[in-house]
C-alpha cells in the first residue's frame, strides 16, 4: 500500500514535471520570451519538498537539467547566465522547502511519540490501579469524587462525579469524622474506618494530591483489613480464653523460665504459695522446694526438659510462712521456648483425708472384730441356757408322764428347737458377712442330699398332710454337702410352712450339662409380685403384721442366696398369689477356681 502510494506520488510528480516542462515550453513559445517560462517548475518542487523533503533537492536538480534542456531546444530562448541562476534558485527553493517539511515532520513524529508514551504510562497506571487489592479514590476539595478504581467501584458502586458524603453516606453535609479539610491543607493521615454498608473494616491512607491547575485533592487508599482484624480478634479471644483457663485452673500453675525463675503464676499458685503475683514474678523456682527434695525435683525438672522421666513428681512445697505442703507436680516443657509449665496439685488435704480414712478403716476393722466377738459371745450365751431346757426335756421324756405332761413337754421341745434354729441362722449370717465361710468341697450325690432333706422334714409335712414328690436324676456335683442340705431344707421347710394342709410340694432337679437347676415348687399362698425382688434380702418379711406366721426372722432365704452365691450359682423365684411359688437355684457341677473364704 505504502509502495503503491509512493509509486503513485512518484508518477504524479514525474507527470507534473513533464506537464510543467511542456507548459513552460509552450507558454514561453507563445509569449515569445527569451527564456523558458519558469514559474510552473515551482509546482513539482513544492510537491517534492512536501513529499520527499530533503530528497526534493534531487528533483530540483533533475528539473534544473530539464529546464536547461528545454531552454536549449526552445526556439526563442537563448542560453544565458539567467538559466543557471534560475536552476540554482530551483535547487535552493527545493532545499528550503525540503528542510522545512523535514523539520515539521520530525516535530510531528516527536509529538506522536510523546503522546504514545503518555498513553502507555496511563495504561500502566490504570492497570496498577485496577489490579491492586486496595481501593483508590480521589476526592476534590469540594467533596466531589474525581476518581474511583475498579475495586472501589465494585464495592461502593460507580460514583465518579458525585458528592462523596451524599453518594457514600447518604448525608446532606460532610461526615463528622471526615479528614478532607486537613488533607487538602497538606496533611497525610492514616486511620481505621468501619463501613456499616459493607460491614468491613478499612485501613485508610489519605494524602494530598496536587492537580495540574494547582488545586489540591485528596487521594485515599482503602485497604480492607477485616480478615486481619478477624484473625487478630480470634487470636485475642483465644489468648483470653487460655488466660482464663490458666487463671482459674484448680491446680496451681506457673511458668518457669530457663528452669530457674518463675515468670507467670495463676491464682491457685498464689493461694498455694502465699505470695502475691508481683512477689512470685522473678522468684527462684527452687525457693519453693523443701531442701530434702531439692536434688530430686531439680533432676526431675532437668529430665522433663529433655522430654524424659515420668510426668509426675511428688515433693514438699514451701509456702510463704514456711509451711510445708505436699504437692504432686507435673512439669511440661513449652515447645519452642526455654521454659516449662509446672502444674502443682496440693495433696496436703488429700493426704490428711487418706490418713483419716486409714484410721477409720482401722477403727472399722476393730469394730468389725468387736461385732464378731460379740456375736460369738452372744451365740454362746444364748445357747447355753438352752442346754438345760433341751437336756431336762429329753430326760423328762424318759419319765412316766400323763398325756397332758407329754403334750407340754413336746411343746417345750419344739420351742427349744425353733429357738436353736434361729440362733444358728443369726450366727451363720454374721459369719457370711465376716467372710468367714469356707466351702468344704466334695463330690456330692444329689439324690442323697434330697432324700436326707426330705427325711428330716417329712414329719412336718405329714403333720399338715402335705405330699412331697420329687424327680431327681442321679448326678454328682462338686459342692459343700452341709451347705447344699441347708439350701434345700430352707426352701422345703418354707414350702411346708407356707402351704396349706393337703398341699403339694414338688422337688425337681434338672441336669443342664454345665450345672444343675433345682426347683422347689409348692401350692402355697404365693408371694405378691412386688415382694418377689426383695425376698432374698436380709430380714425381709412379706408379712410383717401381727397376724404373720411366727418363727421367722427373714433370714432363711438370705442364707440360701449367700450359700448359692458361694457355690457360684444363682437363685430366683416365681410366684402367683393363691396358686403357689417356685424357687430355683443353680449349682455348677464343677468349681473352676475354688475361692477360699469367698
Amino acid at each position: 500500500m505504502k509502495i503503491e502510494r509512493l509509486n503513485y506520488r512518484f508518477l504524479l510528480l514525474l507527470s507534473t514535471v513533464l506537464a510543467c516542462t511542456i507548459l513552460a515550453f509552450f507558454v514561453g513559445f507563445i509569449r515569445e520570451e527569451t527564456i523558458v517560462y519558469t514559474h510552473f517548475f515551482y509546482i513539482p518542487i513544492l510537491l517534492a519538498g512536501v513529499w520527499y523533503r530533503r530528497k526534493a533537492v534531487y528533483i530540483a536538480l533533475l528539473l534544473s537539467s530539464v529546464y536547461i534542456l528545454v531552454t536549449l531546444f526552445s526556439p526563442q530562448a537563448a542560453l544565458s547566465v539567467h538559466i543557471f541562476e534560475r536552476s540554482a534558485i530551483f535547487v535552493a527553493v527545493a532545499y528550503v522547502i525540503g528542510f522545512v517539511s523535514e523539520e515539521r515532520a520530525k516535530g510531528e513524529e516527536k509529538l506522536k511519540e510523546t503522546k504514545e508514551k503518555i498513553k502507555e504510562e496511563r495504561d500502566k497506571l490504570n492497570l496498577i490501579l485496577e489490579s491492586m487489592d486496595d481501593g483508590v479514590c480521589i476526592i476534590s476539595k469540594d467533596y466531589k469524587v474525581e476518581f474511583m478504581n475498579k475495586v472501589l467501584i465494585d464495592v461502593f458502586g460507580y460514583h465518579v462525579g458525585d458528592i462523596c458524603y451524599k453518594a457514600f453516606h447518604n448525608r446532606d453535609e460532610p461526615c463528622p469524622g471526615c479528614k478532607n479539610t486537613e488533607v487538602v491543607k497538606g496533611k497525610t493521615v492514616r486511620w481505621e474506618w468501619h463501613s456499616r454498608r459493607t460491614n468491613r473494616t478499612y485501613d485508610l491512607f489519605e494524602t494530598p494530591l496536587k492537580n495540574i491547575d494547582g488545586s489540591i485533592s485528596k487521594l485515599t487508599i482503602f485497604r480492607d483489613i477485616s480478615e486481619q482484624k478477624r484473625i487478630e480478634d480470634n487470636l485475642r479471644d483465644a489468648e483470653e480464653r487460655y488466660r482464663v483457663i490458666f487463671e482459674h485452673a484448680l491446680t496451681a500453675l506457673c511458668v518457669i523460665e530457663h528452669g530457674k525463675f518463675v515468670s507467670l503464676a495463676n491464682k491457685e499458685f498464689e493461694t498455694l504459695s502465699g505470695y502475691s503475683r508481683e512477689e512470685i514474678k522473678g522468684k527462684k523456682w527452687i525457693d519453693f522446694i523443701a531442701d530434702e527434695d531439692m536434688d530430686r525435683v531439680q533432676n526431675y525438672c532437668e529430665e522433663r526438659r529433655k522430654g524424659e522421666a515420668p510426668a509426675c513428681c511428688e515433693f514438699k512445697f514451701v509456702s510463704r510462712n514456711g509451711e510445708i505442703k505436699h504437692v504432686n507436680a507435673w512439669i511440661e516443657p513449652i515447645p519452642g521456648a526455654d521454659s516449662c509449665i509446672a502444674s502443682l496439685l496440693d495433696m496436703t488435704e488429700l493426704k490428711r483425708k487418706e490418713e483419716e480414712l486409714r484410721e477409720t478403716c482401722k477403727r472399722l476393722a476393730e469394730l468389725d472384730k468387736m461385732k464378731s466377738d460379740f456375736l460369738n459371745v452372744a451365740y454362746h450365751e444364748l445357747r447355753s441356757p438352752l442346754a438345760p431346757i433341751v437336756g431336762y426335756a429329753s430326760m423328762l421324756e424318759r419319765c412316766e408322764l400323763p398325756d397332758k405332761g407329754k403334750r407340754y413337754l413336746y411343746n417345750i421341745e419344739q420351742s427349744a428347737r425353733q429357738l436353736e434354729k434361729l440362733i444358728n441362722r443369726m450366727l451363720e449370717l454374721a459369719r457370711i458377712d465376716g467372710k468367714k465361710i469356707e466351702l468344704s468341697l466334695e463330690w456330692v450325690r444329689i439324690p442323697e442330699v434330697v432324700s436326707e432333706v426330705v427325711k428330716s422334714l417329712e414329719p412336718e409335712a405329714k403333720e399338715k398332710r402335705q405330699k412331697i414328690s420329687m424327680s431327681v436324676p442321679d448326678i454328682e456335683v462338686q459342692a459343700d454337702k452341709q451347705k447344699l442340705i441347708a439350701i434345700l431344707s430352707n426352701l422345703v421347710s418354707n414350702a411346708i410352712k407356707y402351704t396349706p394342709e393337703e398341699g403339694k410340694i414338688d422337688i425337681n432337679v434338672e441336669d443342664r450339662g454345665e450345672d444343675i437347676c433345682a426347683c422347689v415348687a409348692d401350692t402355697g399362698i404365693g408371694i405378691p409380685e412386688e415382694h418377689l425382688p426383695k425376698i432374698f434380702e436380709r430380714f425381709y418379711m412379706v408379712d410383717t403384721s401381727l397376724t404373720r406366721k411366727s418363727g421367722s426372722l427373714g433370714l432363711g432365704l438370705s442364707i440360701v442366696k449367700e450359700y448359692v452365691k458361694l457355690h457360684g450359682g444363682i437363685v430366683w423365684a416365681r410366684s402367683e398369689v393363691g396358686k403357689g411359688s417356685e424357687f430355683f437355684f443353680t449349682i455348677p457341677k464343677r468349681r473352676k477356681a475354688i475361692k477360699k473364704g469367698a
Binding site: R383, A387, Y392, N424
Partner: protein, 136 residues
C-alpha cells in the same frame, strides 16, 4: 467280757445348773457311769484329774482361770490315755477343731438331749476300745 466296770466321770463345768444336769443325766445310767467329782475351771480340772484319775472327763470350753482347751492339753500331757469329751455352746467349727487338736476325743454341742450324751459317750468308749485293742 463280763460285767463292765462302772465308768468314773469327772464333770468340768463352770455353770452349776449344767453340772447338776450332767450328773442327773449320768445317774439315769447308774449301772454304767458314776460321777466322781466336779471342777469349775480348767485349773481345778487338771488337779482333780490327777487326784481322782477318772475314766471320762466332760470338759466345758469356756471357763475362768484356765479355759477348756488349755485344760485338755494339760490333762493329755499328764495322761495321754485320758478320755475327754468337750461340751460347749460355741458354734464355730474352729473351736471343735481346736479342741480336737488339743486332744479331745469327742465333741458335743449344747444343747443336747440325754440320748445325744450317751451316744457321744458310747462313741468315745468304742473308739477307746478299738484304740486299746490296737495298743495291746
Amino acid at each position: 467280757m463280763g460285767e463292765e466296770k462302772k465308768k468314773r466321770v469327772l464333770i468340768v463345768e463352770d455353770a452349776a445348773y449344767m453340772r447338776e444336769m450332767l450328773q442327773e443325766m449320768l445317774h439315769q445310767e447308774e449301772r454304767s457311769y458314776e460321777v466322781v467329782g466336779f471342777a469349775v475351771n480348767g485349773k481345778e480340772a487338771v488337779e482333780k484329774y490327777k487326784e481322782l484319775k477318772p475314766d471320762i472327763v466332760t470338759m466345758d470350753l469356756v471357763m475362768e482361770e484356765m479355759d477348756g482347751i488349755q485344760a485338755i492339753r494339760e490333762i493329755k500331757r499328764y495322761d495321754p490315755n485320758a478320755l475327754i469329751i468337750a461340751i460347749t455352746a460355741l458354734g464355730m467349727s474352729e473351736y471343735k477343731d481346736a479342741a480336737l487338736a488339743a486332744g479331745a476325743d469327742e465333741y458335743l454341742w449344747k444343747p443336747f438331749t440325754i440320748n445325744n450324751l450317751f451316744e457321744a459317750f458310747e462313741r468315745l468308749l468304742r473308739k477307746r476300745g478299738r484304740g486299746s485293742e490296737g495298743n495291746e
